[in-house]
Structure formats: structure tokens, C-alpha cells
């Protein structure tokens, strides 16, 4: 059995990772931390956890020199960059589900997260954990920066066209709709039931959301010129799910069928990307799964195409993708524990 530890097991992502990992046939969880709830059983905080799979929560300071094969960080930004190096130094592989190791440079991190990166030396060796685009590098990575939820849906949606130069990189408009778990389990007026229920709300629109930098960096790997992403996230009255409706300008006259072929070919052997030939992606079809559903439609009479892409923000957008990365890193079947 591969052993693992979870730092930050009582946020929405942390407990989802725990739940999935506990069902994985080849994994054994040896610790789960919570600064808020340590001393309690995980099932006291989340009664849905099967008692047969329960675990006591400890503080990070109690881990001592435990040496699992891999540690996951499901923490707010700024924690992993401080704590991951010690694990890496003693040979533990790290999958950081927080944003700390997604960026190439400390400057980029500072631009979008407004703080100095404290472990710039480790950024270089970190691999961006999107298996569909980076599988080879992930295999041998010691440190994986697990993608953000919005970027997962957008990069999987846009990369197939961008890498073929079929779209203009400067004109990517992403209108995204996210479930409320994406805002975390912290106490905020904005995520109270009464404030969210029965209403949809845009926020941080334009070029300001912290995921913009991540999207542009990753899409930039497929483009000679730096992409520009206009990004409009919307808080949507649902617990989970992200739908990205993406407007791109084609550089060549390709019809819907040609465009769909690009996606079909690109993702032919991918276990977790479904190219929908009938119907459009909806978040309910991917909820509680590790799938990304994607589709493209040419708008006749224009140079525009509309890509629609749906994921579960807590699974393919976080915990599920983290396990998919683990499967790649440790040589398990990529679907292990995820179907």
C-alpha cells in the first residue's frame, strides 16, 4: 500500500480527498490534520464519513517525522510553501492542492496572490498537475502543483485549439459559473444560504481573479504569443460544479464538425475527458465524478466558436485530480479509486 497524509482535511477539498482516498484500492491514509478540529475524529466534523473509515484528526505540529509516501496540502494559499519543503527534504513526495506551487516564478505568484513566495527554489522542480497535458512530467515529479478548479475547466477546454494555432490567443473570453463550495468552508456573509439561494452573481470580472494568471501561464505553453484571458466568474446557487462557457476567435475557417474532431482526437485516450457529441455539458452530469465534459460549437457567420466545459470543482477541479496525479506518479491505473 502507498501511504499518504493530508494536511488540511476539514475544508471541502480536504474531506473530499479523504473520502476518495479512503476508497482507493492501493492507498493507506496515515494522518489527516486540522488546525481547527484536531483531537476530534473526522466523522465528528463530517458525519457522512463511513465509521469504518474514520481517522483521528491531529494538528500539523503533531505529525513529527512521519514519512508517508506522499503528502497532500489542502490548505489556503501560503501554507504549503512553508511546510512542503521539509517533507520534500526527507523524501516525501508532495501534491499541493493549494495554489503555492502552480506558478513558474515567485514574481507571478506575488502578482496574483499578493505575497512573497518563501520557497522559490522549489518552484522550478514543481510540475503543473494536469495529467492530460503533462502526464510524462508528472510521472517523475517529486512536487506537483495541482491545478485550480477554474483553470482545469478552461485549460482542458482551450488547449486543443491553441496548440494547433486554430484560435487567436489574445481573444479568449471565459464566462464561468461556479458552485459555492469553491468559496470554501470559512465564514463569509457572501456564502450564507440566504445570500446565495435563488440568485446568480458575477464577481471579480475582467482580468482580476487570481486564477487568470494560472490560466494564462498554462495556456501560454501552447502559444507563441502570451494569451490574454478575460474571465468572468459567477457564484451560482449550487453546491458543486463549474461550467465554463468560452468564446474564442478562430484563425481558420473550421466548421463545428472539424472542431469537434480536434477534441475527439486530442482526448481519444483520456480516461477523464468526455467529448460530447450530443447535448451540451451540464454540471449535473459531472458532479461527484472526475470527468471533464467538453464540447465546441462554431457560430455560423462569424469567426467565433463557443467551447463549453464542465467539471466538479471538488473532484476534477481539486481532490479527484490530485488522486489522478497520484495514480500517475505511483504507477497505478489512472482510474484507480476514481470510477
Amino acid at each position: 500500500m502507498t501511504t499518504l497524509g493530508i494536511i488540511g482535511a476539514t475544508g471541502y477539498t480536504g474531506v473530499e480527498l479523504y473520502r476518495l482516498a479512503a476508497r482507493h484500492p492501493h492507498l493507506h491514509i496515515i494522518f489527516a490534520t486540522s488546525e481547527q478540529y484536531h483531537g476530534q475524529q473526522l466523522s465528528e466534523v463530517f458525519p457522512h464519513i463511513d465509521p469504518r473509515k474514520d481517522i483521528p484528526l491531529c494538528a500539523t505540529s503533531d505529525i513529527g517525522d512521519e514519512k508517508p509516501d506522499v503528502v497532500f496540502f489542502c490548505t489556503p494559499d501560503g501554507i504549503a510553501m512553508q511546510q512542503a519543503p521539509a517533507f520534500l527534504d526527507r523524501g516525501v513526495r508532495v501534491i499541493d492542492v493549494s495554489p503555492d506551487f502552480r506558478f513558474d516564478t515567485p514574481e507571478a505568484y506575488k502578482t496574483w496572490y499578493k505575497k512573497e513566495h518563501t520557497a522559490p527554489a522549489f518552484m522550478k522542480s514543481a510540475v503543473y498537475g494536469l495529467p492530460e497535458l503533462n502526464r510524462q512530467k508528472i510521472r517523475d515529479a517529486r512536487l506537483v502543483g495541482n491545478p485550480g478548479c477554474y483553470p482545469t475547466s478552461v485549460v482542458l477546454g482551450v488547449a486543443p485549439l491553441l496548440e494547433q494555432d486554430f484560435i487567436a490567443p489574445g481573444s479568449i473570453i471565459v464566462d464561468a459559473k461556479s458552485g459555492v463550495s469553491g468559496a470554501g468552508r470559512g465564514l463569509k456573509l457572501r456564502t450564507l444560504y440566504v445570500e446565495v439561494n435563488d440568485s446568480i452573481a458575477p464577481y471579480g470580472i475582467g482580468h482580476t481573479h487570481r486564477h487568470v494568471g494560472e490560466m494564462e501561464q498554462e495556456l501560454g505553453r501552447f502559444s507563441a504569443t502570451k494569451p490574454f484571458v478575460v474571465f468572468s466568474p459567477h457564484l451560482t446557487p449550487m453546491s458543486r460544479g463549474i461550467l465554463s462557457t468560452i468564446y474564442v476567435r478562430l484563425t481558420q475557417d473550421l466548421g463545428s464538425k472539424d472542431l469537434m474532431d480536434v477534441y475527439t482526437r486530442r482526448y481519444a485516450s483520456e480516461p477523464f475527458v468526455r467529448v460530447l457529441h450530443k447535448g451540451l455539458p451540464e454540471t449535473r452530469f459531472v458532479t461527484h465524478t472526475n470527468f471533464c465534459d467538453v464540447r465546441i460549437d462554431r457560430v455560423e457567420g462569424t469567426d467565433l466558436a463557443i467551447i463549453t466545459s464542465a467539471i466538479d470543482n471538488l473532484v476534477k477541479g481539486a481532490a479527484g485530480q490530485a488522486l489522478q496525479n497520484l495514480n500517475v506518479m505511483f504507477g497505478f491505473p489512472e482510474e484507480a479509486g476514481l470510477v
Copy 2:
């Protein structure tokens, strides 16, 4: 125009009261306080407020010796008992939408709210503001204790039978379902969207919820022996509304029609109680209205009857009823501003 002030205008009840009062044909609002948001316009906190009806929020300490005709307290328990006396002493009538002046004795208040009452002298003169049962006394009251949301739905549902000795006072079982606004606008993990959505949850069941004392006191006015209310509230995934499903034991063999007749007669001239002869109460039929919908069904083959009663917890259960009380106190048509 009758002038009024609102203490605590930025909770869910406070802003609902503001919205309703601003539409009332005979009222003029001269101040609205918020300890959290003073200095801002009300519309900055609640953008749904019509800008033509906006008001600057002030701190309570800024009111000075303003002397409106009536002041409403839409505050947590413990505030009105401290601040209402000064208003009353200078001739301002008070409608307390908080629980501070609902009880007959300081002992009862302490039993259920776990704190000493600081204005026991004023409790005596306070009138319980349920117009359907107390209209005469409300007319001349200087101080009204506006009923709690659950008690409104329960007392209106049970009183018609109890006052005729048709049911056993010791066997009243109330299974109530409330929308989330009843839990207030404070930051609590329990009322985050993701914790509430798509799930129903009982809480504080049995004989422990603070509204039990209020129900038993008010129902006791109609009964020779003290009633005993078993009360099971449930947090329900909806923003507003209370449905009480009430199980009572009949002392006489009355059929559904006889029982309905009791209600029809009792509430014949009431502007805000609808006795439903077709279909059962549902919260959606009373949302955003001051109605209480009520119905009774005998369970054949038993001595049980089931009363169902629905209100909007923020309107008939709080702000709307407060305005109904104002209408009674100031001689306006009882429906003014409420239809």
C-alpha cells in the same frame, strides 16, 4: 404621518420591516440604526432597496433625543430590555420584535434566554402582539412584545381548539420546518449555503428550543391546565417560511368538518388568517405575505387531529406582524401597507 425609527435595520427582519414600512401609506421613517454598517446608506448593504426610499444608517448612540411616534427593535435578545425604557419614558411607543418583552415574568425570561431581565418593571405593561388574540389590548399598548416566528404559527393554529377545550393541553406535538433566514444574518458554519443546500436537519428537538416557553405561556391563556408543547424544529433548504405540522389529541369526537368550522368561525373576520378548505398549507403560498394559512384534519380511527399552519417567518412571523400591530395601535386599517 406617523413617524417611526428602527433599531437594528440590517438584519433580515430589520430590512424587511424597513421595506414594508417604506411602502406603508401613513408612515414616515426618521431613523434606521446599524451598529455594523452605520455611516453607509441602507442601499449599500441591501442593493434591492429602492433608491427613492433609501436612508442613511446611524449608530444607536447617534439618535439623541429623536422622538418618533414609535420605535421598533429588530435586535438580538438582551438589547431592547436595556434601550426600550428610555424611549417609553419620553413617550415613544415601542414594538419590540426581539424576545425581550414577550414574557410575563423575569423568571420565565431567564429560564428560556439564560439571562437576567434588566427591565422587569416594564414587562407587566407589555402586551403580546398577536392581533388575532389580543387586539383590544394592543390598541392601547405603549409597549408590544411582537411574537416569535414559530409561536405565531403554532398559537394561531392551536388556540381555536384549546379555547373551546376541544383538545388535551398536555399532548401538543409540533413538528416545525423553518427557512434559513430564521437563523439570522450572523456568520455561522451551520447556515453556509453548502451546509444547508439539498438537506433537511432537525435541531433542538423535544422541550428545549427557546420558543417553547413562549408557546406554552400564550397557549396557557386558553387552558385551565398548563399546556405542554413537544417541539421539533427543522432547518429546511429555503430562504423563508415556516410550516408547523401539529398533532393534537381531541377531547371530543369531532369530525374534520366540525373542526374546520371552529377555525372558519374563529377567524371569519381576520384579515390575515386564511382557513384552507381545499388543499394544505404550503410555505410558497404565504411567502412575502402577512397571511397565516391554516387547516385541520381529523385522523379517522384515532383521537388525533393534524393542524397545518404556514407563515412567512419574516412577515407574519416578524416584520409584517409588527406593522399589523402598529396599524392596530395607531388606528390605521389593519391591512394598511400589508396587501
Copy 3:
């Protein structure tokens, strides 16, 4: 009192119109029809209707030669074009809340609604009922085509820039999110609770939705060249509300403040458009009101601006706007019955 009749009072729009009209100080409703429920009281179908304002439902065939001052059609497409002429011929003014009289030509109607128009002679005199843009013509209109819900939010959002040539008419991308009442009260698998809840779904994206023709026609009045609207509607888990997030390409280098000034000036005297200088439009702020909230944000570093526009699809997007039109047509204060 101005007298009115409602054809089709038991759809979501019809009952909303009834509810609003019954509260209007200058109106008297003399009939309300329902082919499905005639013979019942309206309150039997919709128990939320105040019994003091109830009305018996009749079949359209029972109206006879009743001659109210105005008749509203809240019917599916294809009914008003058949029945409105008889009313108009006997001097009754008509406000058609269905799509039958929104188009300039029978050809355009056929293109988008896939049927022959049976009253082309009346199309010419019909006025498109968007008071903010057409107030003068509405005043004297005998026949008003009340705008569709999506077009209301889009035309109010885009017209101020288009009429000044500040944006390119060929590059208007509308990403719209609608509550489920927009799909009507008919029985469709797609609008069952379980199919909608906790999920967001795009549908009919690109250039296919029937409201595209209406938007392009109306926006075309402000532009030398025919506009092209790319339109992506999304079914959103909420009962009411439309949010349109609109991406436009500026033809001049205007900053956010300049752009906001355009809107502020354009709508300065409008009673039902709020230009939001703080925060973005959210549907909850306009629900159950006749407001359209609008805002524009320039995306720095690009020629793009993002317009966000929110309405309640059943009020400003249908019944409320119909009453606003009535107020204009009959010389009432424009806000009568709507605040």
C-alpha cells in the same frame, strides 16, 4: 378606473400580471381567462392570491363582447395574432406579452417562430414596448408588443453604447443566465425539480434562440449596420431572474468611468433602471421588482468592456414591464402599482 382583461392568467407571467394589476391603484380587472382552469377561482390554482382579490377564471370563448380599456395576452406564441385583432377592432387597446407583435415583419416572425403570421396588417402599428427607448410611441399605441425577457436585459444594457457608436455592432456576445420560470409552467422533463436542482446548463447557444432576432432588430435601430448577437442562454437553478453578462468591443478608448457616465446620463430620469456604481448586478437585488440593474466595466489592456444587466424575468422581463407600458399609455405615473 381603467378596466382590463387578461388572456392566459394561469401561466407564470399571467398570474404575476394579475397579482401586480390587482394592487395597482387605478386598475380594475374585469376578466381573466384560462383554457385549462376555467370554472375555478384563480385562488384555487394559485392559493397565494389574496382571497379579497380573487376572480373566477373563464374560457376565452366566454368573454363575449366585453370591452375593457385594455387587454393583455399572456399566451404562448400564435394566440395573440389570432385573437388580438378582434379586440383592436372594437377599440380595446392591447398589450401583447407574447412574442406575436414584437417583430417588424411577418418574415422575421416566421424566421424565428417557424410559423406564418396571421395578422401582418397589425404588425405595422404595433409598438415595441420598451419604455426606456420608446416612451413617446407607446403613449399613443393601440397595440404594444411587450419585449421578451432576455431582450429586455440585453437591449437596456447595450443600447446606450450602440446609439453613440461606441461599440462594434458585429461583436456582441451575450452570456445569459435565466431562472426556470422563463421556461413556463408546461410539463417538460427539462424543468422538473430534480433535473434543474444544483446544476447549471447551457442550451440553444450561438445564434439559434428565438430571442436573438428580437435583440438584433431592436439594437439595429441604434446602429447603421445590422448588429450580430452571439447568445448563450443558461438554465440556472433559481425560480426567477435573468443576468446577462455582455461582452462588447469598444470603438473608442473609453475608461470604466467614461462608460459608466454614458449609462448614468442615459438613464438619469428613468424610474426603473439603476446604474450600479458600487458592486455588480445580482438577480436577488431585482427579484420581485421592476428594476433593471446595469453596470459596465472596461477590461484594461483590451478593447473589451463587460456589461452586466439583471432583471426579474417575470416583472421587468414581462408582467411589470407590461404594467409600465399601461401606465405610459393611460397617463398614470409610470411607477404606479410597481413600487
Copy 4:
């Protein structure tokens, strides 16, 4: 591999059973029928189905003489009683998730389902499929009547007390709250999103719901006198889940701890019943699981106790329990495919 077929795979229960069975380590699905969608792939009707686990839908008439080890009926009442005998006659075991084989007598079936039973000879050998109470009989059963959703939550909640004579069988009050999937996937006005959203509604209260007969029959096995269940179901704005709040009268003076001990002992070795010692059952804790969470609280000062019991109506209340029964019948670990 054990082979199985599903009759009626495109209702909410049918597709849930398919999804669970497709993940079960020892099962192979050889057919899935749908009278409405035959000719399509299951994933065309439910795009959330993993394409690797897809199946073509056939009409029941196309099955021919296929002979799987077991057939499940996920059909409306009245189908299984006609079609199950042919399967049984050729040696196929049947798990009927419909109500047709839950009753002991054709008279009882007729009383509650208002139709003649057409296979009374098979009723005798049918076993009521609640493993916690009937495990031995299920093991050898050829025909299992899988319990209804409400009865599962109620019988598991009440049986431990009734079998010890600790409660009065004539005074069982069940106030139940159900998610909307319990009403099925058929087209009904009552289950449209807009009719359900943001509201709670009682229906069929008293002694009329068809599940009452099933509850009384099964509870009757534990009681010398026939139990009487007062049952008030409520349609709740959530997709899945049932919470039953049950009021019982104790015949002995037992405290909360004593009562909890009864449950703890009774269910000590049950894999799918959790007796909650901390906190009350909520539907979100059991959603998408086969657990029944249960708890009991004595109401001090009365002879009442309140049992709260929560399940997922589609899992423990239908498809999950059906698989649990299969596991018992075929000698698999009882949790196989369910954790």
C-alpha cells in the same frame, strides 16, 4: 460473475441501481430496459453514466428468454406482478423494487394500491427485503419485495422498541420529509422546479399514503396488537433524502441513554445502520450512501420519545437496499459495491 437484468432502467431508481451495479465487483449487467427510450444508449438519457459502463436500452419485449441470475424491477406498481412470474418460472431470482411483492395478501395490496393483484400465488413466497430484520429469509428467497423508501426509514427507526414492547403500537406518529426524486421522473406539475423550489409542502397526511399499509404490516410483526401509524409526508426542496421524525409513547420509564442502548445493541453488527450518539440525523450525511442514521431522544416530563431516522431514498430507500439484498441472496459480502 453474477448476471443481472434491470426492468425499467430510466427512472430515478433504475438508473441509480444501474450506476451502483456497474461498480459492483461481482456483477455483470446483461440487459437494461426502457419502454420510453429503447434503442438509445443509457448514456444518451443520462449523460452522467461513465461511457466505459454504457449499455444499449432495449424494450422488455426484446429480452426474449435471456436468463440472468437475477432480475430487478424498477417499475411503477402493477408491472412486476405481471412480468415477474415468467422470470421466476424459468429459475431467475427476482428483486422487485416496485411495491408489487411487499404485501402479505392480495387484499392488502388492493386496499392500498387500488388494483387487483394478478399474481397472488407468488406473494406467499416473497420475502420483505429489509436485511436488518429479515436477513435469514432473504438469503434463500427467490422473490424479494424491496421495501418502500418511507417504510425503510420508519421500520428501522421503530422496530427496536416495538419488538421489546417498549412503546405503544397504537400511537406512532411519523412526520416525514422527502426529497423530490421520491415522486419519480414522470411529468407532473407538482414536481416542476418552480413549484417545489424554496417551499415545503405536506401532502396525503393522516392515514392515507400508500406506504402506511406497508409500515403497519411490517411493524406488526413485532407487536401483539396491530400498530397504527399516523403518517404526514412533506415534499421538501431537495433532490434526495428522507428524514422521518417519529413520535412514540413509551410503556416503560426509560431515559435517553437506556433507549439509545437498545438501538446500539440492536444494530451493533449492522453494516448500514449508524446509531448517532452525537448530533441528530440530517439527510446530507446519508446522501449517496446506503446508510440509515438513527437516534432516539426521550422528552423529559412526558412518556414521549422522538426517533429521528435519515436515509437516501434512492439508495437505502431503493437501489442500494436492492443490491444489499442481492449481496445477501448470493453470498457476497453485504457491503460489496456499496462503500
